[in-house]
Symmetry: C2
Subunit: 336 residues, 2 copies
DNA sequence: ATGAAAGCGCTAACAT
DNA sequence: ATGTTAGCGCTTTCAT
């Protein structure tokens, strides 16, 4: 049997209340002198001796706090997910909160039974999700990454809508006419995605005719992205530039180009979306569009929700900008 | 306020006990006829109407069951981790158990406060871990992946010791003399790792002199592995074959070779360790050594621990074998 | 077949 | 400064 607060109390010769105060670091009374130093020491010694560990479930039932933060990340192999996880778990640990990843495409089922102080969901696009999320938000703080949903008891995180994604395609269109696109299947419920839309709009703005055969689709998976890139690059009149709707897919494009002995950016320029660290570190470094400081700000926001009192749900928008790096450098005329 | 069992009971006009029986699917009495169909229906209707969700913390405090399985995975970007996660979370969901990933290098701190029915730890090599794990095992089932630890209240999973890793180096030594190695830093607490040891032993068996400059070290990270591979492959007398101590590192070697316009396996043969799906799917497909059916068997074992009664801790050994694929094909003389 | 009630470990309001 | 105690939501034993 695991030692309880009661056992610690009798070992230290004090009451359970005192033990609770000492072990949770709260003052014994609101305005008094608190627990005396000697008592604190005795309690800690007793707890140490018995190997006492607080029962988190019992705490939760009393306080309503779980000290748990859940990140529902659908595509774990995406560097974006890793960056989220890294930033959040580091920040959470500093506050004594544990963060765990739910890596299940079916978070709808899994989250029905688990409770956390705050849960972050990175992929809530499907029909009916809005309703489900609103219900979930009544039980726990909920932060959703979505380009389409509006706050409804839960917060929404998104990039600034408008021309931000288009920066990538605009950048390529300065020096290229044959621009391909790697995207998720376009026939999705909920209409055309913003990221794919940026491609179509960007071509139009640049006066470039849309070519169906320059669009390759992939399922959310690096290997699938790689294969799509191979298809695109093996065309006789292959594109001289490729826009991929996520950094990890753009990275796959670079790998595919290298496999085919194509030089990046000389033979094919590549742009991603997301501004992940992996893209920044690779060679050639990946040109991309993305938010500034996204991951750290996300982490801070999640923590403020985990700790904070009830606040009105909000939309947290991230300004994006263009990161010009080696995989798609600036045009000569831009540099001068 | 979230609806409780009490509210459901009064809504349905029954006692809380009855609601509990219905909602948890247990029979009302050990040998009686159980709850009547009509009552079941009324209770379910009431629960549905109120949007009742069981409070997991309250359940846990009574039953000691969390319905939670925690996977502590240190290197999330390793395909091995993804495979573990995929297999386990699918299997767990079938049993109504949630599995979550703890992606924190410091699991020692994080797990002190969280409780789960079973926790899997993929990286318990450091000094003092043995003691810590033994203590943790008193609170919850613990399954540890380790090549060196022995069961002590917790289960240990490992590959069959002996010549299994060596198969990789032996395979390369059939056709190569200049064999390089990509390994984690060798000067680790706890002595030489088995995987690196396989390299040294393999060379010796093949009568090949060890060359310090053919060993490149990397920290557990794909990018670091990539850089280490670049170093090795840019040597004037570069190795003609490389053994990497993990599949993801071997994959990085292949990428590095392609970057340097080297053909795999003609210019450099590559072998990994782990037999992950990513290695199997890539082009050229990765030759590797690894366990058969590892991930599914691991998932089953974890679940049996999560549900099962107390059983003596054991060592679960996995037989490994050689998977000869394209990145290091069989020698001509072997094929005949 | 159903209900009453004890109690899991802990916190927090209140009493001393 | 410390102790007493109610009660969080649920399961489970024991009555009826």
């Amino acid at each position: 049997m695991r030692p309880t607060i009661k056992l610690v109390a009798s070992e230290a010769g004090v009451s359970t209340a005192t033990v609770s105060y000492v072990l949770s670091g709260r003052p014994g009374s609101a305005s008094g002198p608190g627990v005396s130093a000697g008592t604190i020491e005795r309690v800690q010694a007793a707890a140490q001796k018995l190997g006492y560990r607080p029962n988190q479930a019992a705490r939760t039932i009393r306080t309503g706090k779980t000290n748990l933060m859940v990140l529902s990340l659908t595509l774990l192999s995406d560097p974006w997910s890793l960056s989220v996880s890294r930033a959040v778990s580091a920040a959470a640990q500093r506050k004594g909160i544990t963060s765990m990843i739910l890596a299940d495409a079916d978070w709808r089922t899994a989250l029905a039974n688990q409770n956390a102080d705050v849960v972050f969901i990175d992929d809530a696009g499907l029909d009916g999700d809005a309703e489900l999320l609103a219900e979930m938000a009544q039980r726990q703080k909920l932060v959703v990454f979505s380009e389409t949903l509006e706050p409804n008891g839960f917060d929404v995180i998104r990039s600034v809508t408008g021309l931000t994604y288009s920066l990538a395609v605009d950048h390529l269109a300065r020096t290229h006419r044959r621009i391909g696109c790697l995207t998720y299947p376009r026939a999705r419920a909920g209409g055309r995605s913003v990221r794919y839309g940026a491609y179509v709009d960007g071509l139009e703005r640049a006066g470039i005719a849309f070519r169906e055969d320059y669009v390759a689709e992939f399922v959310p998976d690096p290997i699938s992205a790689f294969e799509a890139a191979m298809t695109l690059l093996q065309r006789p009149d292959r594109p001289t530039a490729i826009y991929a709707i996520a950094d990890y897919a753009a990275i796959a494009v670079v790998h595919a180009a290298q496999r085919l002995q194509l030089r990046v950016p000389e033979d094919v320029a590549v742009m991603g979306v997301g501004n992940t660290m992996e893209g920044e570190l690779m060679t050639p470094s990946l040109s991309t569009v993305g938010p500034v400081d996204f991951f750290d700000r996300l982490a801070d926001f999640l923590l403020s929700r985990a700790e904070g009192t009830a606040e009105a749900p909000q939309v947290l928008e991230f300004p994006w900008r263009l990161f010009v790096r080696d995989s798609a450098p600036a045009a000569e005329r831009d540099r001068s």
